[in-house]
Symmetry: C2
Subunit: 236 residues, 2 copies
């Protein structure tokens, strides 16, 4: 609960794969396990292509700092090709991005100020007097600030852009940290724009110190960019 | 697409962690990456406790056969303790298990005959003349056959018990195989019964050779046992 924004850790691990000359294909999935805190300072990422097939490649990664493994991860890359397609889920109801005001963000945590957030639903924890909430759903338009075209590393970070669902439910600050995060990428993201994307997340079950979160990230024109899941530790 | 049932591979990897004397806590999550086929014959599982904290432990695993890595996995174990709890999702509508007839299962794939399945919805692919389906949702009561009390390894296998969603949508056999599977466990499973559990799964997006699946596994009395997600390759 004292590490940096989990999204940037995940994005940094994915970057190690993307930049590796041995890589084939585009990112299909990433799972990151947050094993211990990461401090300011140098760290080492080891990325191993554990198995390379004709059209997919399976990577295992560790992030090591001060001789301890702080993060483990797996990444699958692969070649996409045209097939039958269909999207069974729909984007959450939301006004157009430009009609939703930008939400003023707190000083802490610092990482939030790297994003422009326009909350459509479930942003009450950021208000002056948050109250308990009957559901854990948050929906927002969000993009990097300063704005830049979306790529898979930015999308990976955005899949962790939601404050812990337990805080929305209980209406107060709760110590919480992601244990494991998995994001599935649904598109090759080329070319992309710097326009906001629509992000929505909810918890499914809270209990015994953990909850799970399911998230969806949609392009402005309603295409699914990524679906994501995480297991989160909390101390109430 | 020529390997064994992915659920048994995942369960076997989890078993390696459960049986390891270095383990602390109960299973919280598992991610399995199906990197290559596994043939009948010996294989080696290496399980490494990459990081051990006070109440959680992060494992990395590989399954190797004929000097090639066939599967990689990560497992998180940890201690659960009482906290505030709530379940935001509800079990799918279904008659009681005993009121749903047991579905006769085909000779192939062989693994299905290790389960007693009672389809409530979306089992049409098993009929003599399957038709395309407008949604990918399947719901069934399911348990091992012969019946035995549920444990985390059995639950892990059950999280992969759904035939590929693409087959339900297209109403025909489609070559498909799981690329990556993640299951989050919501309970310590002690004691448990050998009664059927209610399992439901659906796809969110199909396209460019891949789809994702979200699944929920519920106890007979309506408690969430596990939530699960997978990314699946298909060739239409």
């Amino acid at each position: 609960m004292v590490g940096p924004f989990g999204g940037i850790t995940a994005a940094t691990l994915l970057r190690a794969v993307i930049d590796d000359p041995r890589r084939i294909g585009e990112p299909l999935s990433i799972t990151v396990n947050y094993a211990g805190p990461i401090a300011d300072g140098p760290f080492t990422i080891d990325a191993i292509p554990a198995r390379t097939n004709r059209s997919t490649q399976h990577w295992t990664l560790t992030l090591t700092q001060h001789d301890a493994i702080a993060t483990t991860a797996t990444v699958v890359t692969g070649l996409r090709r045209p097939t039958w397609s269909d999207t069974e889920i729909a984007p959450p109801a939301a006004p157009p991005a430009d009609e939703v005001p930008i939400t003023p963000l707190p000083e802490y945590p610092a990482w939030m100020r790297n994003y422009e957030m326009r909350f459509v639903e479930g942003g009450e924890i950021l208000s002056a007097t948050p109250q308990p909430h009957t559901t854990s759903t948050t929906t927002l338009w969000v993009r990097d600030t300063p704005a830049r075209p979306l790529d898979h590393t930015a999308l990976t970070a955005l899949s962790d852009v939601f404050f812990p669902r337990i805080m929305l439910r209980l209406g107060r600050f709760v110590a919480a940290s992601t244990v494991s995060l998995t994001t599935y990428f649904h598109t090759d993201l080329s070319p992309t724009s710097d326009r906001p994307i629509l992000a929505t997340a909810r918890a499914q079950h809270f209990g015994n110190g953990y909850f799970d979160q399911s998230a969806q990230l949609w392009s402005e024109d309603g295409k699914p960019l990524a679906t994501s899941h995480q297991l989160v530790y909390f101390k109430d």
